[in-house]
Amino acid sequence: MTQEKDLKGYWKKNLQYLSILLSIWFTVSYGFGILLAPWLNNFKMGGFKLGFWFAQQGSIYVFVVLIFIYVYLMNRLDKKFGVNEEDA
């Protein structure tokens, strides 16, 4: 494989990760926290109505997890395509 083709593959994979992670980001915050919140409020988790919990707690936890998943995926991808900084 040429260097050029390698990099294209890297970028494509990166965009793929981004679209998956950002879909989750959108679904949890805008979906569960806002658009579906009135419906989710029919369900309860302990003392929390579920829509309210996603809006004021759950979405923030998910944001943190998403960033760390991204970091893990990208570090792996950097190594696989040989663009990681350690080898420089």
């Binding site: 970028w11 950002l22 806002i34 991204y70």
Partner: protein
């Protein structure tokens, strides 16, 4: 020891610490001054970012705001955290790879245009100045409430401290003081939260506590109880809120995108050594931020419940001592509309404007129940209670009956939050002037030493200007936060994203987009917030979007204009396209 003595001790110790750090980490070159030589450990940078980000508003006002907004407070909680996902995935790693000093640097180089750079500098300056004025005001307020120092002297002391470490240390000094300030502010925020959660629900962890049952033996969940209290008094349910769904949606987008586009936040990710570090550093930053942001809604619920249970339908004479203390500061007031001596709390404002205490000479005039009398016009509704939002955090330790040192801790924490954010903003202002204007536009051959001197002078001037606005706040200071986020969302964010992800975006498209987004957003906010505040009601808004949420619309306009204008002009030059290619790969 009383609160005031404790406050002097804690504020004195923390300020000495900040100054010590500043002396230890003086900057010697522009690279040290602008980006701490790009040698900051990612964990350290994450902590500094968290302090940089969490301002006096996050620390002092947010929990109080949420406690009055209920579910609607979600816009701040999600809006001011969700942007970090965008920052980590779409901005930070690429801008780190780009490897220059400022956001206008990127805009100017990527769009091969000094005009674009200038537009970016102007946005950066407006955003930072509006923001920094609020911080200096916060410093002044904490001083005046806790130490009975005049606001003027409070701001002057705050200015002197920031001046010392921002002007001397630049980014390097700021980074390490911010780490110390984060520790102070998070400790100060969490301690009262632990205590109050324990008292109300028996669970020491506030995030769990506010979803637990109350300890009064009824076995009721706290949130159910609060919803019930709200309904009884005629308020909307706490967990449902009153804003329309589209407004909540638009405000949240504007705040998230605005966060990701704020220059003082972005620039923090120029300070780490590698692309990899930039990514993980955003993750650390968000963890540190999330600790406060997931606690704030719990504090909001505790404070709201405590407030209603303590005051509603109770005789004024039986109020605890804190009630009259805060009445005297004009942050709390009771107007006995039906003259029954009982505090009736209901929806709507009790009085017109903020309380204006009547004084006879130096003495406060008292009513028949010994309440503080005010000269404001009363409204026609049933509500007799005026409560300032800020009181919910400031008075929380007293309301819950916590020891004096906890209240003093809140003062030191509020100062840490205000000073750390102010320093980060001052750095953006000074860099914009010395680097983006003087070095890049007027005098390209300037030596590093001379540039550093200009950076220090600019920082010094900015401190003075910020202080001036802190002492004499323009009437619309509370409103301008909407401007800062709206502008960042409508100008920087789309231009940077297109610059990274759309290689063929040319300067004409980007410039047209930025200017269109900027003018539209500014015009809408100024129209409703400054020019005709009386028209600022949902019926008049476009598509039901409030001025706070209009940045989202501005961002869409920016994108549409940029993409359409782009197609009429040639692609960017080959070397620019190569540069874009280059920032996409860590190596």
């Amino acid at each position: 020891m009383d609160v005031q003595v404790w406050t002097y001790i804690l504020v004195g110790v923390t300020f000495t610490l900040y100054i010590g750090i500043a002396i230890w980490s003086r900057a010697g070159s522009t690279s040290e001054f602008y980006i701490a030589e790009g040698a900051v450990n990612p964990l350290t940078n994450g902590m500094a970012t968290a302090a940089d980000w969490m301002s006096a508003a996050s620390f002092l006002s947010m929990a109080g705001l949420i406690s009055f907004m209920g579910y609607d407070g979600t816009v701040y909680l999600m809006g001011w955290t969700g942007g970090y996902v965008l920052l980590a995935l779409l901005l930070a790693p690429y801008l780190r790879k780009f490897g220059k000093f400022t956001v206008p640097d990127f805009i100017g180089d990527r769009y091969y245009s000094n005009t674009a750079r200038t537009v970016a500098v102007i946005c950066a300056l407006i955003v930072s100045f509006t923001y920094v004025a609020g911080q200096m005001r916060g410093v002044g307020l904490v001083f005046s409430k806790f130490l009975e120092v005049d606001i003027f002297w409070g701001v002057i002391i705050g200015m002197a401290i920031v001046f010392f470490y921002a002007v001397l240390g630049g980014m390097k000094g700021i980074t390490y003081t911010q780490v110390a300030q984060y520790c102070v502010l998070i400790f100060a925020f969490m301690v009262p939260a632990f205590f109050i959660s324990m008292q109300l629900t028996g669970s020491p962890i506030p995030q769990i506590g506010f979803g637990s049952t109350v300890t009064d033996g009824s076995g009721m969940y706290l949130l159910d109880k609060l919803d019930q209290l709200h309904t009884e008094l005629g308020f909307a349910e706490y967990t449902s809120g009153t804003k329309s769904m589209q407004d909540v949606f638009f405000i949240t987008v504007a705040l998230m995108v605005g966060t990701a586009g704020l220059p003082h936040v972005i620039v923090r990710f120029f300070t780490v050594p590698k692309v990899k570090d930039a990514r993980i550093s955003v993750g650390y930053a968000l963890i540190f931020i999330a600790i406060l942001y997931t606690t704030a809604p719990a504090i909001a619920v505790f404070a709201r419940t405590n407030l209603i249970e303590t005051v509603s339908e109770q005789p004024y004479e039986e109020m605890p001592p804190w009630f009259s203390t805060w009445e005297e500061t004009a942050l709390l007031n009771w107007v006995d509309k039906n003259e029954d001596g009982i505090i009736n709390y209901a929806p709507g404002a009790a009085i017109v404007g903020a309380p204006d205490i009547i004084r006879d000479g130096l003495d406060i005039r008292r009513g028949s129940n010994n309440q503080v009398m005010i000269s404001n016009e009363v409204t026609a509704n049933q509500n007799e209670l005026y409560v300032d939002r800020d009181i919910m955090v400031l008075a929380n330790p007293e309301i819950a009956g916590l020891p004096a040192w906890v209240a003093a801790l809140v003062a030191a924490g509020g100062l840490a939050a205000a000073l750390s954010t102010a320093a980060g903003l001052l750095l953006v202002i000074s860099t914009s002037v010395s680097h983006d204007l003087i070095k890049k536009q007027f005098n390209k051959d300037i030596s590093d030493k001379a540039e550093l001197r200009y950076a220090r002078i600019a920082a010094a001037v900015a401190v003075v200007v910020a202080g001036y606005f802190g002492i004499n706040p323009p009437g619309f200071v509370a409103q301008v936060v909407a401007i800062a986020f709206g502008l960042a969302a409508a100008s920087f964010f789309p231009a940077i994203i297109l610059g990274i992800f759309y290689k063929k975006m040319n300067k004409q498209g980007a410039l047209a987009g930025m200017i269109a987004g900027l003018i539209f957003t500014l015009a809408y906010i100024i129209y409703f917030k400054i020019a005709f505040p009386e028209l600022n009601i949902p019926e008049n808004w476009w598509f039901g979007i409030s001025p706070e949420g209009i940045g989202t619309f501005g961002m869409l306009i920016n994108l549409v204009v940029a993409l359409s204008v782009r197609s009429f002009y040639p692609d960017p030059p080959e070397d620019v396209q190569e540069m874009v290619e280059g920032i996409r790969y860590p190596r």
